[in-house]
């Protein structure tokens, strides 16, 4: 294989790595430089464009046979996660003028790209760690509240536990099959062997923990709340996508079989119900997003009940729709004096009178996350549940739909706050005082989320075809 093919296959990663080295180089050479935002934005956007272009070109290659391979679908997945990172970067400009935020974000994205292309457990593990380790630092980086350090530590310890669980599972699978290829996992799915099943369950639990599925979800609300707004957006949209792509790589096209199906359906089901119920009681927006993301992790894992090709499309489409909407909420959230005040749900009362554009954006995102028809979230949920029914689990599909109905309450409550509730008179002064209009970059971020959302709402079929699978 010539160097050129290898470089083409690795183009998104090479661009990210070049950006990363440039960022670190700038940090070394030029004290107090202001270029970090521009460099990282350029690198991520270029990598996203390269991935989209390679996906459209339909190229596939295996630069490191047995460890790393690319194809149109992996390029499409990379394009999705990298494109989701662009509005996140726009949000970050105001909060992080420079410093370690940008190199950390870019290296985490590099990890996501590695996960998406992984063919062996080693590459997968490397990718997952490269994706998560910078995020522990990102959570604590803004440090605007006392709880930031605590939340970051919780995330670090629990995520570390997940990595250890993953490694133990992999070692059992390796012991059974003698192979580190990811296909060992899909073979073990159908096996009756005790060791193989134990390995599969351990590996799955690890990813349940990383994706915050009940009962492994407790770190998520704390971490989402304590992180600064762009980092929350990054965790909700990109890191979750990375974890789900890892599971997609593991399952490949293998069907989920009987004893495992129940595990794969019951925990996500519990996740939907508990996430939606707990979200009702939240009074902070980011905690609400966190519980909503726990419920959405449930829907996403539901997609694995379905057959192979449909699974890839459903998950990728879902991640795109869900990620765009999550970033949209956080981008439209009006800035306020301090971080805690900005987060309070009460403050959204009567926002429509003060900032109609922001109110509309949050409303659109909420309706889409709830899965109300014309919005992209509906198509995404439809694809997931269609696959579950087609795979022959109508009971689980019905239970899942009931679980998702529970979520309507709190999504619509936000909308009621936005449009119908007058701002409480005592707080009116203080609410108006700290509140400013969203910055120009945040507005650009909302547009970057809204345009693709309109596209996938109007032409879901066209988008699904582009996503391959």
């Amino acid at each position: 294989m010539s160097a050129e093919t290898v470089l083409t296959a690795l183009l998104p990663e090479v661009l990210l790595l070049a950006g990363l080295l440039l960022l670190i180089g700038l940090e070394i050479a030029v004290p107090r430089h202001r270029g970090a935002f521009a460099v990282s934005l350029l690198a991520v956007a270029a990598a996203a464009a390269a991935a989209a272009w390679l996906s459209a070109g339909g190229s596939s290659a295996a630069p490191f046979p047995g460890h790393y391979s690319v194809g149109p679908d992996t390029f499409a997945a990379k394009a999705v996660v990298l494109a989701l990172a662009v509005p996140v970067l726009l949000l970050a400009r105001g909060e992080f003028p420079g410093g370690p935020f940008y190199p950390l974000l870019v290296s985490s994205l590099l990890g996501v790209c590695l996960v998406v292309s992984a063919d062996s457990f080693l590459t997968l593990f490397l990718g997952v760690e490269l994706m998560s380790i910078p995020v522990y630092v990102l959570v604590v980086l803004a440090f605007q509240r006392e709880e930031s350090a605590e939340a970051a530590l919780k995330y670090l310890v629990l995520s570390g536990t997940a990595s250890a669980t993953f490694l133990l599972g992999v070692s059992l699978l390796y012991g059974g099959s003698g192979s580190l290829a990811l296909s060992a996992f899909s073979t073990a799915l159908g096996s009756r062997d005790v060791l193989a099943t134990a390995g599969v369950v351990l590996v799955l639990s690890a990813f349940f923990l990383k994706a915050a599925v009940v009962p492994f979800h407790t770190w998520a609300p704390d971490a989402y709340e304590a992180a600064s707004v762009p980092v929350t957006a990054y965790m909700a949209a990109v890191v979750k996508a990375g974890v789900l792509f890892a599971v997609l790589r593991l399952f490949a096209l293998a069907p989920a079989e009987r004893p495992l199906v129940d595990l794969l359906a019951l925990l996500p089901l519990a996740s939907m119900v508990w996430g939606n119920l707990a979200a009702m009681r939240q009074d902070g927006l980011r905690r609400l997003i966190a519980y909503s993301s726990i419920a959405h992790a449930g829907y996403l894992f539901y997609a694995f009940l379905g057959d192979g090709p449909g699974r890839f499309q459903a998950v990728t489409f879902y991640l795109l729709a869900y990620g765009l909407m999550n970033v949209l909420v956080l981008a439209a959230l009006p800035p306020a004096g301090d971080d805690v005040a900005r987060d309070r749900l009460e403050r959204l009362k009567g926002l429509f009178q003060r900032q109609p554009y922001a109110a509309w954006m949050i409303a659109v995102a909420m309706l889409s996350l709830a899965g109300i028809p014309p919005f992209p979230g509906f198509v995404a949920k439809f694809l997931v549940f269609k696959n579950v029914v087609a795979a022959g689990y109508p009971v689980y599909a019905v239970l899942g739909l009931v679980g998702s109905y529970l979520g309507l309450y709190f999504y619509l409550r936000v909308i009621q706050y936005l449009f119908m509730a007058p701002p409480p008179p005592a707080e009116e002064a203080s609410a108006a005082e700290g509140e400013g209009a969203p910055s120009r970059l945040a507005l650009a971020a909302t547009v970057l989320c809204l345009l693709p959302a309109i596209l996938i709402a109007l032409f879901p079929g066209w988008v699904i075809d582009r996503l391959g699978g």
């Binding site: 790595l17 080295l21 070394i28 012991g175 062997d193 060791l195």
Partner: protein, 118 residues
Amino acid sequence: MLDNYLPVLVFILVGILFGVGPLVAGFVIGPRRPYDEKLSPYECGFEPFGDARAPFDVRYYLVAILFILFDLEIAFLFPWAVVLDQIGLAGFLAMMVFLAILVVGFVYEWKKGALEWE
């Protein structure tokens, strides 16, 4: 399949026995005649001073991390050096790229003062 893991089980059992056995033996067989002086905490023969929960110097942590980083680099370099004549120029260049990236990280930590002890 599972019997391949028998040695591991034996190993775990022997490990537990080796660790717990002497303790239990001491507990059961050993004579016990306590008095004040025997029960007081001691520290290698002298009176204990300070709290056991003393803050640990974080600098050791940094040194440990850096050590692991460059220790691993050596682990990559040795096999590479052994087969260098077989993998040719491409292998040489690949390792140089790897080392260049590591050097950038090294200069970064240097500039950030991670190597300053005081």
